[in-house]
Amino acid sequence: MLNYSNVIENDKSYPGLQMREIKPVMKLIIRGKKRQFLSAVGKSLNLLLPNEANTSSRSDQLTALWLSPDEWMIFSNEILKSDYNNYDVEKLLNKNICKTNLGAVTDVTDQFVLINLKGDKIFDLFETGSPFNFNDFKSKKGLVTQTILTKIDIIVHNQDINDVNLFVRRSFSDHLFSWMNDSASRL
């Protein structure tokens, strides 16, 4: 990860809601359509990409999120070294996917900010600014959705019950986090 300043200076805590940025975490977007692409990724990472819409899959080190029928986000489960921007996973995928013309790999580590939310008020917060219906989503572990929160594109990953990962583009993250704090203080 490059040496960007933290978007979120301090962890924030409200009754039933804790928010903090998790960094540095490797994030890759991979795109491909062919069946060989899916099997090459599976063999390279020992991780099956989720085929079903709005779902995710997880191995010991990586999590894959379904974004569209030919697009996935892969991120590391563990925090990495902050002075390091060369990832073995990316190199491996470049070798097995890009150079064989099966698909594309893009490093979005610095493009996306990962905010982790914990608590039973997470979806009360989301419902104040998102048109997405979270009723079924919140009770199913591993579901993923891309939607808008206060008109900002976000990716929401329901990691566990009352434990959600939110990905937002870095340029919007400061505004989004200040909006989330404002909204959380009124819940």
């Binding site: 819409a53 569209s68 029928p69 048109p131 997405f132 891309q146 594109d153």
Partner: protein, 91 residues
């Protein structure tokens, strides 16, 4: 405001989508053989009817995929949603 059933992601609210105009407009095979009027007809003229209309939509704040929709423009009732390249399920 209405709900749209994205063929890839499922039911979402309209604000996640962007309308892309009339669907099933075929590009002329030999554009150089067309007159200016014929080319303008292809390029600019759209039906914009009150009633059943075939449209292209993009799930721009979701999966970012294009798809087709059959919509009654008089009351926003969605008759069908289908993927690009598929034949319309209703006439």
């Amino acid at each position: 405001m209405f709900l749209i059933n994205c063929p890839f992601c499922g039911e979402r609210e309209q604000s996640e989508f962007k309308a892309g105009g009339e669907a099933h407009i075929v590009r002329p095979k030999q554009p150089t053989e067309l007159s200016d009027d014929q080319w303008a007809e292809y390029l600019f003229m759209r039906k914009n009817i009150k009633g059943i209309q075939f449209e292209r939509w993009n799930h721009i704040h979701g999966c970012r995929k294009w798809f087709n929709m059959v919509r009654d423009t008089s009351n926003d009732e969605i008759k069908a949603v289908y993927k690009m390249g598929e034949k319309p399920p209703v006439k």
